[in-house]
Point group: C2
Chain length 433, copies 2
């Protein structure tokens, strides 16, 4: 009978920052509830962090402390939780040691999985133990489980995700206040919504890590950020955000992975999404993923993508699964069957594009731009040019008909050489969502 309590499931927890502290707190305060679900008590058996004496919200003073992460990985435990973070040491060796010792691992470490996921999955599967990472992509949103276990009957054609709360917060604030990127970023840093070094977030790298993980689950490829084109949001101006609205769109930093006839298209880039589509109203620190599941249609998952509680929620879900004996291929399919797919060439990316040119308001400038676009067979669907005093810098913005990214890029290279055009033109795809 299932409802008889099994023996305690001993958890070794490495990392006591926000997430580790949250996990400890839930284990210590919601034990009875979780035991009902797992069929056995979840016991916090040992903890490990850099600084033993740091004040913490969860009181772990009575939990055995193991100073060395590798000793923790080898300790008497039924699972090792890695919430230290970082692509390298000590997280990597901790996970490798635990798996080699035949222990399941639960981790929230996107950077590490994006770099070493395929190899670690192979190790876990050889050892016959689980490697779980719901918290590593889109925080509390159960998209890892959704792709691994739920949306499997018809395969996945495409995933489109808002995967970085910092960028989404900045873009939302830019829209709300009309202020420039740099100003909003400083403000976000002051409020703790952006890191002191924000480059991993605003440069798109963090989104790329998460997209690599989701791509592996969706398409059976090894996680590989090296095969993605990655662009951040630093070049987005308040003008772009304003004009997006005029064209019935909003700007979001998207991670996109989709099958095309020419290969797998994997990109991180700011994109416009139409109002009324599921990603358009995802604001502030929320994340969302749209998974196009073949004939079953699109499914959207939205929720908090970072922070103590959402991340803790994902780690706890993994722990209860593993405590109940859940196992199976780490990325849905056996790691030995993960296969690189050819990368789709940029010409496989066909959609309407938003273009902004900062120009001197001189006679002939529009003719010159339009000429170059026509030469590259890019046709214009609509255009906005607001007058200023003649000779002053002014923005010309337009939306093209559907065309290949390569055609637009070709035209922009020619246009950028004009002395009437100030600075590099801005190109933002308008994605279907």
């Amino acid at each position: 009978m299932l409802t008889r309590m099994g023996k305690p499931f001993r958890i070794a927890l490495a990392g006591l920052g926000n997430v580790g502290g949250g996990v400890a707190q839930i284990l210590l305060t919601r034990g009875a509830e979780l035991a009902q679900r797992a069929g056995r008590p979840l016991e916090l058996a040992s903890v490990c962090a850099r600084d033993r004496n740091k004040p913490r919200r969860a009181d772990v003073s009575h939990i055995p402390w193991i100073g060395d992460p590798l000793a923790l990985a080898r300790s008497k435990a039924d699972v090792v939780v890695e919430v230290i973070g970082g692509e390298g040491e000590p997280a990597l060796s901790l996970i490798e040691t635990a798996l080699a010792a035949g222990k399941p691992v639960v981790t929230a470490n996107k950077a590490l999985l994006a770099a070493h996921g395929a190899r670690l999955a192979a190790t876990a599967e050889e050892q016959g133990v689980a490697l779980r990472f719901e918290a590593a992509a889109a925080g509390g949103i159960p998209i890892v489980k959704g792709l691994r276990e739920s949306l499997i009957a018809y395969g996945i054609d495409a995933i489109h995700g808002i995967l970085n709360g910092t960028c989404n917060y900045i873009l939302t604030q830019m829209e709300k206040t009309g202020r420039a990127f740099a100003e909003v970023l400083s403000d976000a840093q002051a409020r703790g919504y952006a890191e002191v070094d924000p480059s991993l977030d605003v440069g798109g790298g963090d989104t790329a890590h998460k997209l690599a993980i989701l791509s592996a689950l969706a398409f059976g490829v090894p996680p590989d950020v090296g095969r993605m084109r990655v662009q951040g949001i630093a070049h987005i101006t308040p003008a772009d955000i304003h004009f997006a609205r005029e064209f019935g769109c909003r700007i979001k930093l998207l991670g996109i992975a989709r099958r095309t006839a020419q290969g797998l298209d994997q990109r991180v880039q700011p994109a416009m999404v139409k109002l009324g589509t599921p990603l358009a109203d995802v604001d502030t620190v929320f994340n969302a993923v749209v998974a196009h599941a073949g004939e079953a249609g699109p499914f959207t998952f939205e929720g908090r993508g970072a922070g103590e509680e959402p991340t803790t929620s994902a780690v706890i879900a993994d722990l209860v699964d593993v405590a109940r004996g859940a196992n199976g291929p780490v990325f849905g399919r056996p790691a030995k069957n993960l296969r690189l797919l050819p990368a789709a060439p940029p010409e496989a990316h066909v959609c309407p594009f938003y273009l902004r040119f900062d120009v001197r308001d001189l006679p002939g400038v529009l003719a010159e731009i339009a000429g170059h676009l026509a030469e590259s067979e890019v046709s214009i669907e609509s255009m906005i040019q607001r007058g200023r005093s003649p000779g002053e810098p002014v923005a010309i913005v337009m939306v093209t008909h559907e065309c290949a990214e390569t055609s637009v890029a070709h035209a922009l290279r020619a246009i950028a050489t004009s002395d009437k055009v100030l600075g590099p033109p801005c190109m933002i795809p308008i994605e279907a969502g």
Copy 2:
């Protein structure tokens, strides 16, 4: 090693309608992919349906046919799939027989689970076998798994769902065309989006079935539609839909279950949701559920809620889970621990309300209505009255400040007795989403 293929997982399939046919087709065409995920081949071992000779999309002529559903439940199989439908026979006996024989069951049957879910869960758990039903609530959306396995760390405060595609299609079409409920319903019937007898859908009963299942998962109560207030959409007029838009809202049929200080509030009723909130843009046959997961925040799941492919997708996900050995409490917590919670009294339902009064445009009518509202301590936030010729019927619509449903209902009873008021007043809560 996990990636070694296990022995075939033999599936007995009862029901070969749209969903059964879809399940058969996926098993027959995507076997290799599913075997990778399950670690063993999924084998369609036997089928059963009312009419053996009906033409079907999936060719099952080579699959052993078992005429009697109960014989199928007792046949040599590792799992029984019930996609016959209907609260009663033969589905009920089929499931009972399979569970009693120690066989896991996968079902898409919401009516049956809403009526017998707690008892069947207890049987399954006593037998130590899985009873899975992802397809029984919100079709392809993995909300059953989400509530059962993912959003567990902080508990659930509330769930708000658009759970019936027929109603959502009708409301969307009423908004798009300005036509009345009855007309749009006939059209939906002609297109196959509504049943010949539409009462279970448009009366709210189907939403109640699904809400009962989600409530059990979210709050650990036995599924029980008897403890819900259930209202359909037949009284919604094009005027209400039009005015909703003027108040920045849209009308959706919601299933709501939420913890209050006075008990569990479970309702099915048309509600207004504010534009920009996750449920407002869920259109046509799509379903969506917002789960408020304590400190982890709200999570939204959206996708197709009915139809062959979404439902098949959910059944296949359950099958692969069971093939991999997944088991555990049917509703997340052991069935013997499911407990009724006191029902929240109507006065626990506090929100702004939209009110519509069809009145004779006579002097004093507004004063009379306003007087009754004031007596019940309902204060008005905004009001719209569009002039017609004096004496002709006209709609007065208003939005109240936050107040208890009971106060509004009290005022409406008094107002309905006025000879200046034509027909029963319409009251629609404006829910936070």
